[in-house]
Each structure stands twice: as structure tokens, then as C-alpha cells.
């Protein structure tokens, strides 16, 4: 019996069943977070061709491409290789290494960069020793170069690929592997022909994260005299305060980002098999005996040592040696001020981000429909897009609102001189970091069954009471994780602060960078250590088994 459904216009449920106030709030947040990125697109298109571009924009583009390629290859080799080593083989210290290899995530590139330079540059201990042994004309590669930047960024960013690859390798059931082997494929062939292609979507996601981080950076690369497009944005803005020219370059960075996302989609293909949720036991590990076992162990230790342990030791040594006055005095008033700046900025941003995340989560839970879902998606833009784009975008939006206010007759507009105000940094940081907060809160929301919400509503509790009395108590862990992630991210963040800070406003990260650029290693050591230690907190949260804090690329 098939009756024709009555012809009835299917109402488009853009607005959904939710409560208009909550939905409207969520949409507003989505629009505000997406606004800076849209602003770059709009302003970039409007002024295309008319704004002045630096002469060497072609060279910058090429340099960016080479840097992306180099870091992509470097992180792939390190990340995939180490993941395969620690999932498919057994060797001494494997268990320790398999989580410790994530630690370099806590080492910002702008810190590893200066430690690396201090060690390998002309005046550093390595070249001095080489000259002592082989005479003054011994050939050493130029350290302040693209190659140096590639090495440093690969060492700090490979954990993204490593984590994704590890998850992909362990998710795949041992049976896939066994099936391939029973069909006569050797272990190596199985890796190349079965496991690697199956892991491809995850690897693509990991690599996309790496590329975005690479595009975001314009501090580290400056140690190495590498002029990428992002560096161009910074130099143009700080050099001439010409917003239109800076926007043109920011739009170019955005193009790179879009290309990366397109590349990720392509690499992933139609493939969705990484989400199939394998049985999770992974392949059976093969023990490596004798020399081979120790070689495998050594490989892991070398990477871990170079990317994390040795730099930390070196920083600690400097900080210790600096007690005599050449280093940062922990009681130095400036140090205290900068820490206070960093912490208060981080606290404000964290509170705002968590609030926004909870509002969006609640609006979605109340059944916001497609528009609210889109707003939730829009909040991830800031995280997926390089920092220079966000920074310039915020500047444009602030300039626009100034113009609008002036046009409305408010003398002096918002009074926020776009050339620098802490408000700008604040907004940019919120735009950038609301995404991880949203994801943490969202993950917590997912654990509250919709029937709980339904029950609470049907028992007469309005949306606000449901949030306060039923949802929030159950969201506590998600909210805590979100706050911690954002706090640490803000304290670590360098490029946005550099780009937007008003004269005289310095945070710990900026201070480290300034000291490092002027080769005051000892002075930079203590604040740098502080940042690394703080950054370890989310890494341990992650290691403790929470899901990879994926930057959910849209």
C-alpha cells in the first residue's frame, strides 16, 4: 500500500525549533567571529590592484611555498615514521617514547628557533667546535636560512602528524593487517599499500594543521631571515600602517590557506573510512631485537632530544646561569608586569570564549536548525585561518566600526585607535581561540543525552533554568578543559600580539621574542621556560586520553 504523500510545501527549517533569542545570540556570535575573515576577503577584493604591494611579493610567495613544502615533508617523515615505529614494533623504551614524542607540542617554534640558532649559528658551540677541529675554512651550511626554518618548524609541528597517524594506525583493526598478510603481502608492502592509504584522510588532516601553523608564523621565520607572505603582512603593517596593502597580503595568505584546505579535501578524497571506528587493537607489534631495537629507540630519542629535552635543558641551564644578573631576575618588576599582562589577557579571553561556546552549544541543543549549526561552524574559521588574516581582519572591522560611528556623529569613533589597543588583541584572540573552546564544550554537550534536555523542559524548566540547573553541572569538565586550553593558547600566542599590540604593551611571549631577536638568550630563558611549562598542561590533558584536540577544519 503506497499512498502518495499529500503535496505540501516543505517548510525550510532554517530557524529550526529553537528559541529565537538563543538562536539569534548564537548566529550573532557566528557572524562576529567570521566577520574579520570576511572583512579580509571583502577589502581584499574591493582594493585589489589599487593598493600598493611590496616589490618582492613574488619572492615572498615562492618562499612561502618552499617553506610549506619543506615543513610538510619534514613533519610527514618524522610523524608517520615515528608513528609506524611505535605502533608496529616493540623496542626498548617504546611505551615511554610513544607518549613522550607528543611533548614537542608544548615547545613553541619561536622558542625552539632561538635555542637552535644559539647552538648552531656562527658563534654557537657547534660551529666553534668544528672550527677548532678543522680550521677556520671548514664548510658549514648557512643556519639562518630556509633550511634552518624548515628543520625547526618540522621539529615543533611533527606531533600533529604523529598523533593523527598513530590514531589511524591503531584504529585499524589487526584483522585488516592480518588479511593483507594472509594474502601474501609482506609487512612493508602491507604498510605502503594498505595501512598508509587507509590512514590517508587522517594524515591529510594532520598535515593541514601543520600547514596552517606554518602559515600563521611570522616570528620564528624572521630569526632565519625567511620572508614569507605572513612576514610581509607584519612588515607592511608595522612599517607603514597601510591597512589596504596589508590586507592585500593577508588575502594572499588566505589564498594559501584555502589551497591547503582544498589539498586536504583532495587527499582525503571521498574517503571517510577513518571514521569507521575499527576495533582499535592495532597491528600486532613485532619485537625488534638487539641492535635494531636499540636503533629504533635511538631514532625516537634523537627526535625527542632535539625537539624537546635538549632545548629545555639548555633553557634551564641559561636560566640557572643567569642568576648572577645576566638573566631575568624572577623578581624583576617588568617580568611581573608582563606575566600580569599575559595572564589577565588570557583570563579575559578564556572567560569570553567559554561563554560564547556555551551559548552556541545551548542554542544548538535547543534545536537551532541549520542557521545555528552554521554559526557553530563559523566559529571554527578563526582557528583554521592563519593568524595574520585574523589580525588584519580585526583591524579592518575596527576601522569600519570607527567610520560607522563617526558617520553617525560620534566624535572620534570608538576611540580605539586601530594602530593599537588591547581591545584589538582581545577580539583577535577570542576570534582565534573560540574554536577549541567550542569543541571542548561541544564534546561535553554530546555526552548529555537529548532526552535529558527534553525531560527537563517537559518538567516545566525554561531554557535558562535548563542551562543553569541541568546542563551546566554536567558541562563542568568540558568547560574546564575549554578554559585551560584557551588560557594556555593565549599565553603562548605570539604573532597576533606582535601584530596588534599598542606601543608599550608587552606580554611574556612578546618579551621572549624581543630578547631572543637581540640575542639575549640568558634573559629570554626564564620566561621561555615558563611558557613551555604552561604549554605542557594541555599536552598532558591530551595524553591523558582525551581526544586529539583537532582543529576542526571546515
Amino acid at each position: 500500500m503506497s499512498r502518495e504523500p499529500a503535496p505540501r510545501g516543505v517548510r525550510r527549517r532554517l530557524v529550526g525549533e529553537g528559541r529565537w533569542a538563543w538562536s539569534a545570540l548564537a548566529v550573532l556570535i557566528g557572524v562576529l567571529v567570521a566577520a574579520p575573515i570576511l572583512a579580509v576577503v571583502v577589502d581584499g577584493l574591493v582594493n585589489a590592484g589599487s593598493a600598493e604591494l611590496p616589490d618582492d611579493v613574488g619572492a615572498m610567495t615562492l618562499t612561502s611555498i618552499w617553506l610549506l613544502l619543506g615543513v610538510g615533508i619534514g613533519t610527514s617523515v618524522l610523524g608517520i615514521g615515528l608513528a609506524w615505529l611505535t605502533t608496529a614494533f616493540d623496542f626498548p623504551l617504546r611505551r615511554l617514547l610513544s607518549w613522550a614524542l607528543v611533548l614537542p607540542l608544548a615547545m613553541p617554534a619561536y622558542i625552539l628557533g632561538f635555542v637552535f640558532l644559539s647552538t648552531f649559528d656562527v658563534a654557537g658551540p657547534v660551529q666553534t667546535a668544528l672550527r677548532d677541529w678543522f680550521g677556520d675554512d671548514v664548510w658549514v651550511p648557512q643556519v639562518r636560512s630556509l633550511g634552518g626554518a624548515v628543520v625547526v618548524m618540522s621539529l615543533t609541528l611533527y606531533p600533529y602528524v604523529y598523533l593523527m597517524a598513530r590514531a589511524a594506525f591503531t584504529e585499524q583493526s589487526a584483522r585488516t593487517f592480518d588479511a593483507a598478510r594472509s594474502l601474501g603481502a609482506g609487512r612493508a608492502r602491507t604498510f605502503w599499500q594498505v595501512l598508509l592509504p587507509l590512514a590517508r584522510p587522517s594524515l591529510a588532516a594532520g598535515l593541514a594543521l601543520v600547514m596552517m601553523e606554518t602559515l600563521t608564523d611570522f616570528a620564528t621565520v624572521q630569526y632565519f631571515n625567511v620572508q614569507t607572505v605572513s612576514v610581509g603582512v607584519y612588515l607592511v603593517w608595522k612599517g607603514s600602517y597601510d591597512l589596504h596593502s596589508a590586507t592585500q597580503l593577508a588575502a594572499l595568505v588566505l589564498l594559501f590557506a584555502v589551497a591547503v584546505l582544498a589539498g586536504e579535501r583532495m587527499l582525503r578524497g571521498g574517503a571517510r573510512f577513518h571514521q569507521r571506528g575499527g576495533s582499535g587493537e592495532g597491528v600486532a607489534r613485532v619485537p625488534l631485537h638487539g641492535v635494531r631495537g636499540w636503533l629504533a629507540c635511538l631514532a625516537g630519542l634523537v627526535v625527542l632530544g632535539a625537539a624537546f629535552v635538549l632545548p629545555v635543558l639548555r633553557l634551564a641551564t641559561w636560566a640557572w646561569a643567569g642568576r648572577d644578573g645576566s638573566g631575568t631576575d624572577p623578581l624583576d618588576a617588568r617580568f611581573g608586569d608582563y606575566i600580569a599582562n599575559s595572564v589577565s589577557l588570557a583570563l579575559v579571553v578564556a572567560v569570553i570564549c567559554v561563554l560564547l561556546a556555551v551559548v552556541i552549544g545551548h542554542a544548538q541543543r535547543l534545536g537551532g536548525g541549520a542557521l545555528v549549526r552554521a554559526a557553530g561552524q563559523a566559529t571554527t574559521f578563526g582557528y583554521a585561518v592563519p593568524g595574520a588574516v585574523v589580525g588584519i581582519g580585526v583591524l579592518i572591522v575596527m576601522a569600519w566600526s570607527d567610520d560607522a560611528l563617526v558617520a553617525l556623529g560620534v566624535e572620534g569613533g570608538t576611540g580605539l585607535l586601530i594602530t593599537g589597543s588591547v581591545i584589538g588583541i582581545l577580539i583577535a584572540q577570542v576570534v582565534r581561540f573560540v574554536a577549541p573552546a567550542h569543541q571542548a564544550v561541544d564534546a561535553s554537550y554530546a555526552k548529555i543525552a537529548p532526552s535529558i534536555t527534553g525531560s527537563a523542559l517537559s518538567l516545566g524548566a525554561g531554557p535558562t533554568r535548563v542551562l543553569a540547573r541541568v546542563h551546566l553541572p554536567q558541562l563542568r569538565s568540558g568547560v574546564t578543559v575549554a578554559a585551560v586550553l584557551v588560557l594556555v593558547d593565549v599565553i603562548k600566542e605570539l604573532p597576533l600580539v606582535l601584530l596588534l599590540r599598542p606601543f608599550g604593551f608587552t606580554t611574556v611571549s612578546v618579551w621572549v621574542y624581543q630578547l631572543a631577536r637581540e640575542n639575549f638568550w640568558e634573559k629570554a630563558a626564564l620566561p621561555a621556560l615558563l611558557i613551555v611549562v604552561l604549554a605542557l598542561v594541555p599536552v598532558f590533558v591530551l595524553i591523558r586520553g582525551r581526544e586529539v584536540r583537532g582543529r576542526n577544519l571546515p
Binding site: 500500500m1 499512498r3 504523500p5 499529500a6 505540501r8 516543505v10 517548510r11 525549533e17 528559541r19 534545536g367 543525552a449 532526552s451 535529558i452 527534553g454 525531560s455 527537563a456 523542559l457 517537559s458 518538567l459 516545566g460 524548566a461 525554561g462 533554568r465 540547573r469 541541568v470 553541572p473 554536567q474
Partner: protein
């Protein structure tokens, strides 16, 4: 007395899927109605529409004489007098049993609230558990808390969404008895969504059979089982086989013999045969093609001379083997229903 619930021409679609396609239903006060249908038939959507968790595209919903949804009004769930009991119980994990039950009593005086909570916990025999948290309770106890919580604000209507399917099989019957006993004792009007035929037939005053967003039949358990409106209802509410009916001289008969049922219109009709209405005796033109032992009875599948198959419940200790020649007949006293062959599937 006003009806507890009136649905008229209620429609709801998700994209191209019609989850509710012009639903009409009246539920009297104090009535227990079971809604049954295959998964995806729209029975859960029906509950969500009544509760206010979804907004209908068309039609109107009236709860206890008050219009809660039509073209111009929509009352949010917190303002409807509708209680909900979910399959997963949906207890608030951070609140004690007493606080769960008291959640819907906001706005009442403290003493009154406490008395009401105590009364309901007494009714579901959980007074001893008042200070526990939900995770410290068994599945059956959680279910009773969920019921007490839903009943506490004295709703006009309590909706149950597959309330017993998360319980172990051996627990289910007992919990179901307790819960429905409490519902009956409190005189509450209840709508129970289920996919279990036995459950629907055993707990309800009336059964609503749904398919593809439409109501196929509404009737007492006896009616939907013994007089199904169409082939779908017949097969969904129990095992059923169909044989073509011939009418000669006003007497209807099928391959099993003459039917006691008065023949309706001479148009082509099928007879609905339930296994308990078919007997099997040794020797004859039919052949046993399948035998399943079920403990209390044995289900035999018999292929008739025409090639059609019917099923029969054999009493204990009557053994027929596969391949045996038998004859099938109509059980004494059976009054099988005739359906237009065109209806149903």
C-alpha cells in the same frame, strides 16, 4: 469531560520524509494508549510533537482542552502539562532521587513540594532511595524514578518513549507490570510508544498502529489483533498467513475449507489465518516443510497443494516431521477475518 489529547491533521516532515502525515487521534482522560509501528514509522515523532519538542508543519494539538500547537500558536514544552519518560530514563545524574522527582515542582511551597516528593517515592516504593544518585540505582529503579518525576507536577498526559526496551528481558515483564500498575493507580493518561506487539496488546486500552507517518488502525487490543484493518496491521501485530477466498452461494471458503465468516462483497478477498487458527492432521495433500520447537508449542509450516504456505501451532506432544504428508484445516471456533486482497501491501 474533555479529552486529554486531541490531534487533528497533524503533519510533520523532515526534508522529503513525512514523519507525520495528517494524524488524527483522540485520547480520553485516564486512558492508556499504545502506539506501535516499525522503526521509522513516525511514532517517536508523534511523541515529540505532543511534548512540544517538535513543531508541527500543519494541524493542531490540544492538551486537556488547551490548544498547544496550531498554525498560530506554539506552546513550548515547559508550558505544556505533558510528562515524558524516556527509554534511557534521562535522570539528571548530578541530582539525588528526591531532587530529580522534585525538579518539576518549582514554584510550590517547600512543605508542599516535600510532601509531594515523599508521596510519589512512596507510590513507586523508592522512599529508601531518596538520597541516592541515579547511578547507584538498578535499571528498574531508575525507570520508577523517571515515572515518579514525570508524574510529580500532575501532568495532563504522560508520554513513554520505548520505556522498557532498555531493560533486560527477564526484568522487563516485572518492571512493566509495576510501572503500568502505578500509572493506572494514579489515574494518569498515558501514551506508550513501543515496537513490541505483546507489550502493546497487554498494557493498553487502545492500540494505535502506525506506518510511514500514518495511522493504519486504532482500536482495542482485541480489534487490532483479531480484526486487522489491512494486511500490514495483520502481519505486524502477529504471525499471519493469507489465502485467497472464493464465494459460492453466499458461502466463503478457502483452501482449508468453508469459512464461518459471512462473506462480504464478492470482490476478491483474502482470509487472514493466525497459526492458532490452523490445525494439522496426518495424511493428506499438504506437506510439512518446516518445524520449529518453541517449548510450549511447536510451530509447523505447511505447504498446501496450491503451493501456498500456512503456519500452525501444534499442541505439545504432537510431532510432525518435515516431509510428512498432512492435511491442514481450520481450528474449531476460529473466525478468521476477510480482507480485500487489494488493501495492505
Amino acid at each position: 469531560m474533555t479529552d486529554a489529547l486531541v490531534l487533528s491533521a497533524v503533519a510533520k516532515s523532515y526534508g522529503a520524509t513525512l514523519a507525520a502525515d495528517g494524524l488524527d487521534l483522540r485520547v480520553g482522560t485516564g486512558e492508556v494508549v499504545a502506539v506501535i509501528g516499525p522503526s521509522g514509522c513516525g511514532k517517536s515523532t508523534l511523541l515529540r510533537l505532543i511534548a512540544g519538542l517538535e513543531r508541527p508543519d500543519a494541524g493542531s494539538i490540544t492538551v486537556a482542552g488547551q490548544v498547544v500547537a496550531d498554525a498560530s500558536t506554539f506552546t513550548h514544552p515547559e508550558r505544556r502539562r505533558v510528562g515524558l519518560v524516556f527509554q534511557d530514563h534521562a535522570l539528571f545524574p548530578h541530582l539525588t532521587v528526591a531532587r530529580n522527582v522534585g525538579f518539576g515542582l518549582r514554584g510550590r511551597a517547600r512543605g508542599e513540594r516535600r510532601a509531594r516528593v515523599a508521596e510519589l517515592l512512596e507510590r513507586v516504593h523508592l522512599t529508601q532511595r531518596a538520597g541516592r544518585h541515579p547511578h547507584q540505582l538498578s535499571g528498574g529503579e531508575q525507570q520508577r524514578v523517571a515515572l515518579a518525576r514525570a508524574l510529580a507536577p500532575d501532568p495532563a498526559l504522560v508520554l513513554f518513549d520505548e520505556p522498557f526496551s532498555s531493560l533486560d528481558e527477564h526484568l522487563r515483564g516485572r518492571v512493566r507490570g509495576e510501572i503500568m500498575g502505578t500509572v493506572r493507580a494514579s489515574g494518569a493518561t498515558a501514551i506508550v510508544v513501543t515496537h513490541d506487539q505483546d507489550e502493546a496488546l497487554s498494557i493498553a486500552d487502545r492500540v494505535v498502529v502506525m506506518r510511514a507517518g500514518r495511522i493504519e488502525q486504532v482500536g482495542s487490543p482485541q480489534e487490532v489483533f483479531e480484526a486487522p484493518a489491512n494486511r500490514f496491521v495483520a502481519t505486524f501485530m502477529g504471525d499471519a498467513d493469507f489465502l485467497p477466498v472464493t464465494v459460492r452461494d453466499g458461502v466463503a471458503s478457502c483452501e482449508l475449507g468453508e469459512l464461518p465468516t459471512p462473506a462480504g462483497a464478492p470482490a476478491s478477498q483474502d482470509v487472514v489465518l493466525r497459526p492458532h487458527e490452523v490445525t494439522v492432521s496426518p495424511g493428506g495433500p499438504a506437506e510439512v516443510v518446516g518445524v520449529e520447537y518453541h517449548g510450549a508449542f511447536t510451530l509447523a509450516t505447511v505447504q498446501l497443494a496450491s503451493g501456498a504456505r500456512v503456519r500452525s501451532w501444534l499442541p505439545p506432544h504432537t510431532a510432525h516431521r518435515v516431509g510428512e504428508r498432512v492435511s491442514a484445516g481450520l481450528a474449531p471456533g476460529a473466525r478468521p477475518v476477510l480482507l480485500d486482497a487489494a488493501t495492505g501491501d
